[in-house]
Symmetry: C2
Subunit: 356 residues, 2 copies
């Protein structure tokens, strides 16, 4: 049976990425050796790293004055790296969910944290509007897409202090105006690579403004100066990222991805909105994520939640269970998810609805 | 042509690890999905993580009171995590090479660092003896195997303060008495896994004794409490590590590995010591690494270095070039390296010697 992988992350990757990576595990770049066992200083992998950095910049249209670094540790490690590198006394955080909360928590170890707004009052089912930014803060931190709650800041904000974004779960889903950001970072395990790789796009002129000593590995400059080869990088995830970047370019780049993602999301949200059984957890279309579509049973069908879960699983729908803090269902429809899988999910929802 | 992978790391892994990992990239645990795209919270990967932690402890005979954590970032990130978690005012470091130096450098950000001894006077070609440990230091840090210089501390030291070891390049090469250590950590990309995975074996009672706030991701307790699943772990490297641990167990465990490694090292050192053309860079047999065998051309043959390098490459010897700070050659002969490859290298050395 065909499996449709709706996992929130690690998540669906292009067949192109999977096939090429599997081949490289057996024979990397014609070396006769496995990608798992080659030196990261060998010319073959250095070429992979260089091409990955270059293609990342090209596909995302990263302007001059920015460097892209690849490290380990996940976005969670970035939560402390950002204030370590940027915060003198005060930083501003927009609280749109659990990950934003976690990021703000780390910043509190380094100084004062101002929460410019929070959507906690409604279990983070919307993006706060109309807030203002303290001009004396060193930066404003936002989470562009909130995987758990299915909300997304789909526009690049204009703010008058350095803007830092955790874009773990919507990077490469749409064109971004990187020039509006000081740092964009994220775990790569959604639209780019398997788990174990973290990216940070850093505007060079935002660094060097804090007094504190920074441990070498937590200093963005370390990785920028050594072109992500200060220490042994996560070799296989970098290789897989390169395959995905090639796939993105071959498939028309981010304008095309954005169009496809909008189509997929619109199809699914429309099916939910017109359903007698299901309802979306995010009401405002402007705030609805095009990556993670969260929905629940309407109250009168609440007792059917587990039954639908089992039915969907039996039809090949993988990982559509919602996060425990929201409940219900979550369909993550990242770049690599074909519209056919979204249609398959809608068919399953309709089939289940008709039989009840 | 058969390739013999003498890379210092990432380095040769068992065919068992490579083959099983390649298969899982195409179909993981019968899920019909790739190992690259499955949720780390799915029952199949949770089982992998649990088994990896358990088998790691079993193969290395880790006693009660210790926890094993898997994180990203490499041993280089541990260089700051160790003092962050353990250092109040003073720490002692044994300086046996570049990695020990780098570890000590990070500790200096947190307090006073006492260098108990250094072998820098002879380009780190021996392990210092007869040094004493300051009893008021919070811990002593050693690097058990010095990949660059080919020296190794092959016995588990008895010291009267907590002992911390970077065992990146000799973990699993021999039985270790873990009870003598407070923390043993390392990058996993030598005897265990591909790049992107870091392990730390932590004695639980050494934690919680520092006053400073510790960023969540840098706190060993975070990862111990969440059984290495606080955030998304490096899924594929963990899976590959499990394969290697199974291979280790199936092949008799660390006693057998130790015997094999000693045989391989003895064979190669004997060939070098009896050569008219080559000489080892480490003189004292007690200090010679059984993982990384460093050797150079004798002075009278110095001009043949590049020629031998090319000759060996043409015969399928991969990555035998020595580190730039030592020069000459380095044959890394980790667990997965069969004795036949060591014999092949010796044959190449003999053939080259005879023709000159």
């Amino acid at each position: 049976m065909k499996k449709h992988n709706f996992s929130a992350g690690p998540s669906i990757l292009p067949d192109f990425t999977i096939k090429n990576t599997a081949e490289a595990v057996l024979n990397f770049a014609g070396t006769g050796l496995s990608l798992l066992e080659v030196s990261h200083r060998g010319k073959e992998f250095v070429a992979v790293m260089d091409e990955t950095r270059a293609l990342f910049k090209e596909v995302l249209n990263v302007p001059a004055g920015y460097e892209v670094v690849f490290v380990g540790g996940g976005a969670s490690l970035q939560f402390c790296m950002v204030p370590y590198n940027l915060m003198n006394k005060k930083a501003a955080y927009l609280i749109t969910g659990e990950w934003a909360n976690k990021a703000a928590k780390e910043a509190k170890l380094f100084g004062e944290v101002v929460e410019v707004a929070s959507s906690k009052d409604k279990n983070f089912n919307y993006i706060p509007k109309g807030w203002s930014v303290p001009t004396d803060a060193d930066y404003l931190h936002i989470t562009t897409n909130n995987t758990i709650y299915g909300t997304e800041i789909k526009k690049d904000l204009d703010v008058n202090i350095p803007l830092v974004a955790d874009a773990s779960s919507d990077i490469f889903s749409r064109p971004m105006d990187i020039s509006k950001y000081a740092i964009v970072y994220g775990g790569a395990q959604k639209n780019l690579a398997p788990a174990g790789l973290t990216f940070a796009i850093v505007r060079e002129d935002v660094l060097g403004k804090v007094e504190r000593p920074i441990p070498t590995m937590l200093n963005y400059k370390t990785h920028m100066e050594k072109e992500s080869m200060f220490n042994t990088p996560p070799v296989l995830p970098v290789y897989a990222a390169l395959q995905t970047l090639k796939w993105l370019k071959q498939n028309g780049g981010l304008e095309v991805m954005h169009k496809r993602n909008n189509e997929k999301a619109e199809l699914l949200y429309n099916a939910i909105d017109s359903s007698k059984m299901f309802k979306a957890t995010v009401n405002d279309a402007e705030d609805r994520s095009i990556m993670n579509v969260c929905f629940v049973m309407k109250d009168e069908y609440a007792e059917l939640e587990k039954e639908f879960q089992a039915f969907a699983s039996s039809k090949g729908m993988v990982d559509i269970k919602g996060h425990r803090s929201v409940g219900g269902f979550r369909a993550s429809i990242y770049n690599a998810m074909p519209i056919e899988s979204v249609k398959a999910l809608i068919d399953v929802m309709n089939e289940f609805t008709k039989s009840h």
